[in-house]
């Protein structure tokens, strides 16, 4: 990896900070009970009333704790392993690292903007910042000109692009078609628990959907950005899909109603992304595998 020595100290900091943030989110308990509240948008919600996520609702607290679990169980081990591999010169490791940092970036950007203010706000902000800049540094560390040559001809580019398009359309339909348009047409406000606005939908529609379309398109055209962005998007969707699946399960365990479509589709998308991640990693070599284009 070129120009990336600074990551050798940023990544351990991200590791420790997110260990603390996720650990406290999961295990710190205070006395208190959930209680009802009417949000500024007039929605009747149930405030969690205990723990770090005291001022979040029962539903959002369950989602954040599920994400904390995925961070501890999947995110942190992936961060450690991919960093170790990347600094040993493995291209696989470097791609895994970019995807894993994408997961931390998404997680802590949403915690910075969407978690009800709590004493860890500055920690979330620092994690958002560090994962943003290390993500950018990692993305810039690839030698994009030679990147396509490291992928075997057997790479199922069309299947991966197909998955990218499917995921993008799914998010588009689930959020715009399912959540926003119906209420917009009836001059109502969509359900958003006790939050100011729909942060996750801004991030999914504004960042993930265009990224998925773009990476699918560029991968079909065999452009180097396509290989890079598709690898990152597959890794991102795998971890995000696992997190959302865990959220669904945790919400059901906490007695929160969950849409059957969201509960079924996210695990399916996660599985499909696991398969594609397998093919991506299987078809990469740190030495160029295909000849330079004539």
């Amino acid at each position: 990896m070129k120009n990336s020595a600074v990551l050798k100290w940023i990544i351990p900091v991200i590791f420790l900070m997110s260990l603390v943030a996720a650990g406290v989110g999961l295990f710190w308990e205070t006395d208190g009970q959930p209680y009802p509240f009417t949000s500024i948008h007039g929605e009747a919600v149930t405030i969690n009333g205990h723990g770090l996520y005291y001022y979040d609702t029962v539903s959002t607290a369950a989602q954040m704790q599920a994400n904390d679990t995925v961070t501890l169980v999947l995110g942190l081990p992936l961060l450690a392993i991919s960093t170790w591999l990347a600094f040993r010169g493995s291209l696989r490791g470097q791609l895994l690292l970019a995807g894993t940092l994408g997961f931390f970036l998404y997680t802590y950007m949403s915690m910075s903007f969407n978690t009800a203010y709590n004493p860890f706000f500055l920690l979330y902000t620092a994690l958002f910042s560090l994962s943003l800049f290390s993500f950018i540094i990692t993305m810039m560390s690839f030698d994009r000109k030679t990147l396509p040559q490291h992928f075997s001809e057997k790479l199922p580019r069309r299947a991966i692009a197909g998955l990218m398009f499917t995921a993008a359309f799914f998010l588009l339909f689930a959020w715009v078609g399912g959540r926003i348009l119906p209420t917009l047409l009836q001059d109502q406000t969509p359900s958003m628990e006790n939050t100011t606005t729909m942060v996750i939908q801004v991030m999914d529609l504004g960042l993930i959907v265009p990224l998925a379309f773009l990476s699918g398109l560029l991968l079909l055209r065999r452009e180097s950005w396509g290989y890079l962005l598709a690898s990152v998007t597959v890794m991102k969707m795998l971890t995000m899909g696992a997190a959302v699946s865990a959220m669904g399960i945790n919400m059901v365990l906490n007695g929160v109603e969950v849409s059957v479509i969201e509960l079924g589709v996210f695990p399916a998308l996660t599985l499909a992304n696991m398969v594609m991640a397998y093919f991506l990693l299987k078809n990469i070599d740190s030495r160029p595998m295909t000849a330079l284009p004539a």
């Binding site: 500024i40 978690t115 800049f133 504004g206």
Partner: protein
């Protein structure tokens, strides 16, 4: 400078989305009046209660409307003019275009993440997304190696870097002074109101402050990435200065009156900062040649 084809449709789209958002913010009418509201944390706030920003506080509704005026009067003309210059192949035009886009990105992100949900939500999301991808595209169209040769050695590197350090550290102190005391006392920040969290503080400290400080360091090292980022940051600084001044006026018109010291401090420091950033920007662009 490599031209990017996608900008030919992204920029007009950004202009339309920003125009729609700003016009709706200023002219959307609905019945209703101000409501006093007790937040989840027990703070008493005044909610605007009318128009597009009816679920925002009076303070933020006034801020967003000042931002809308700024978009119409300064942001959009700057975007259109710099885009025209860029299309004629002007390096300065492309650079200022990146600056105009940094404003729309900042503005779009604030509206999408920090405005209480309203019917323009999808427009804000679209504005945030298109201006982010357009901003990244404009940054990638410059040839970094060539850029260093375009900047004259007469550029006052040290003054520029010191200004950036001042702006970055100033931002850190200003926002920390609103966060740390309440954190130490175990209380909710005074300005949280009905909002989920302290969005502006989070975005500025996580994204803007590190970028400003890093650019200062890169300028001192004569690294071309520093030149690349300096222009958008200076443009953004001038526009945020205008925004703070406009917001203070708008808040006063909405009936939020501050002590005289605050006016002198807020307006005075931003006039000075904005004017100095404007001078540095002009100086920088004068020191650029093909």
């Amino acid at each position: 400078m490599n031209r990017i084809k996608a900008l030919n449709w992204l920029i007009p789209l950004i202009a339309i989305l920003a125009l729609a958002a700003a016009l709706a913010g200023l002219f959307w009418q609905s019945e209703g009046s101000r409501i006093s509201y007790t937040t989840l944390r027990g703070q008493n706030v005044e909610i605007y209660g009318q128009g597009l920003y009816r679920n925002d506080t009076v303070f933020f509704a006034a801020t967003f409307q000042a931002l809308d005026v700024l978009t119409l009067v300064v942001g959009l003309p700057l975007l259109v003019i710099s885009f025209q210059l860029y299309r004629r192949g002007s390096l300065r035009g492309g650079w200022v275009l990146a600056g105009a886009l940094s404003y729309f990105l900042y503005n779009g992100a604030s509206m999408a993440f920090a405005t209480a949900y309203n019917p323009m939500f999808l427009v804000y999301t679209g504005l945030f997304s298109t201006s982010l991808f357009a901003f990244i595209s404009t940054l990638t169209m410059f040839d970094l190696k060539g850029l260093a040769k375009c900047v004259s050695p007469h550029l006052p590197h040290r003054v520029l870097a010191i200004f950036l350090f001042f702006a970055g550290i100033g931002m850190l102190f200003l926002w920390s002074s609103e966060l740390i005391p309440s954190l130490a006392a175990g209380e909710t920040p005074e300005n949280l109101g009905p909002y989920t969290t302290m969005y502006t503080h989070g975005f500025d400290l996580a994204v803007l402050m590190p970028t400003i400080l890093m650019t200062g360091v890169l300028i001192l090292k004569r690294n071309p990435l520093g030149y690349l980022l300096a222009v958008p940051l200076l443009v953004l600084n001038v526009l945020i200065g205008l925004c703070v001044i406009g917001a203070t006026i708008s808040q006063t018109l909405a009936g939020i009156v501050f002590p005289v010291g605050v006016y002198i401090g807020m307006i005075g420091s931003w006039v000075a900062m904005g004017a100095f950033a404007g001078w540095l920007l002009a100086n920088f662009l004068r020191n650029v040649s093909k």
